[in-house]
């Protein structure tokens, strides 16, 4: 059925141009055809991938989510009347706490329906981003690492540094417990448990367990996530207000 749809597109193009295009495609992409879609879509998709970059710019070989890219995009989504919903896709190792929390707060305060889906991994500061949306999904095989806040490579010199870190961690815990069904006790228990991560404290939570703990709403893939998002859009149109 899908093939049928693309045939008129191909036959419309002049033969010569088509051949030339196919050659550049093979050269540049290693593939011959990508379906064309011109109509505007009411659902936009934000990807949180790689490391969440903080105040220090990572070398270009790192795959990073930069807040100076993401935050204006969220502002644009909020402003554009044609966009009715946002799907947030996470596959992140975590990163900067401040930048991660900034993105999470932006998503939580978006007036449009948002649904998040964790694929692969939504670790560390990816957890608040995943729970910040109105509804969250996690795939069966995806994992989320919950661990305490730490400074990479820097030494805690004075007790005040430790207290500062503790306060920063408290903000993460408060955000997660406010935006998901997990209790503070359970979240902290996962955060400080020993023996789950090799020589480290914390827990690596797999998809269905994340749902069981109340951290994520449901196990599911892209179909369920989009269905939920459409449902939320409909519900909002009928006059419902977004809760989170």
């Amino acid at each position: 059925m899908e093939k049928k749809q693309y045939i008129p597109f191909e036959s419309e193009e002049p033969q010569e141009e088509k051949q030339e295009q196919a050659a550049t495609n093979i050269q540049q992409l290693g593939q011959t055809n990508i379906p064309q879609m011109t109509q505007d879509t009411n659902i936009h998709c934000l990807t949180i991938i790689g490391q969440i970059e903080g105040h220090i710019q990572l070398p270009p070989q790192n795959k990073a989510t930069k807040y100076e890219h993401v935050i204006p995009q969220i502002v644009a989504i909020e402003q554009n009347p044609n966009i009715e919903g946002l799907l947030v896709i996470l596959n992140t190792v975590g990163g900067d706490v401040e930048a991660g929390l900034a993105i999470a707060e932006m998503l939580a305060s978006l007036s449009k329906p948002t649904v998040s889906i964790v694929l692969g991994g939504g670790h560390s500061i990816g957890v608040p981003i995943a729970v910040s949306c109105d509804y969250s999904f996690i795939t069966e095989t995806a994992t989320m690492t919950i661990h305490p806040v730490r400074l990479t490579g820097l030494v805690i010199g004075v007790p005040q540094t430790f207290e500062y870190l503790d306060k920063m961690q408290e903000r993460v815990v408060r955000f997660v417990t406010k935006h998901s069904k997990i209790t503070e006790e359970k979240f902290k228990e996962l955060m400080f448990s020993k023996g789950n991560l090799t020589r480290d404290i914390g827990t690596n939570v797999v998809g269905p367990d994340a749902v069981q703990y109340g951290l994520i709403d449901e196990v599911g893939g892209v179909a369920q996530a989009l269905q939920k998002l459409r449902q939320l859009i409909e519900w909002k149109k009928e006059g419902g207000t977004m809760l989170q």
């Binding site: 540049q28 879509t41 070989q61 890219h69």
Partner: protein, 75 residues
């Protein structure tokens, strides 16, 4: 040499500052792209930063596609 440390790699092996200037964010057809310059004086798309899923279906916006330097706008 085995280096056992919790320090991130980029703190120990500092990347040359030229590496940072290789990639740039530009707008092409109003869509933000992370690009790098090629030897042929063109921009090669490294990453499509758009949130519109439709932009990912256009072959000219796919990673690896190139467009002339003059086609890029900074905002």
């Amino acid at each position: 040499m085995i280096l056992y440390t919790i320090m991130p790699e980029h703190f120990i092996f500092q990347v040359d500052s030229d590496e940072y200037t290789k990639q740039k964010v530009v707008y092409y057809d109003g869509i933000p792209f992370l690009v790098q310059e090629t030897e042929t004086k063109e921009w090669e798309i490294v990453r499509n930063l758009s949130t519109n899923p439709a932009h990912f279906l256009e072959q000219k916006y796919a990673p690896g596609a190139r467009f002339p330097l003059s086609m890029a706008a900074t905002s």
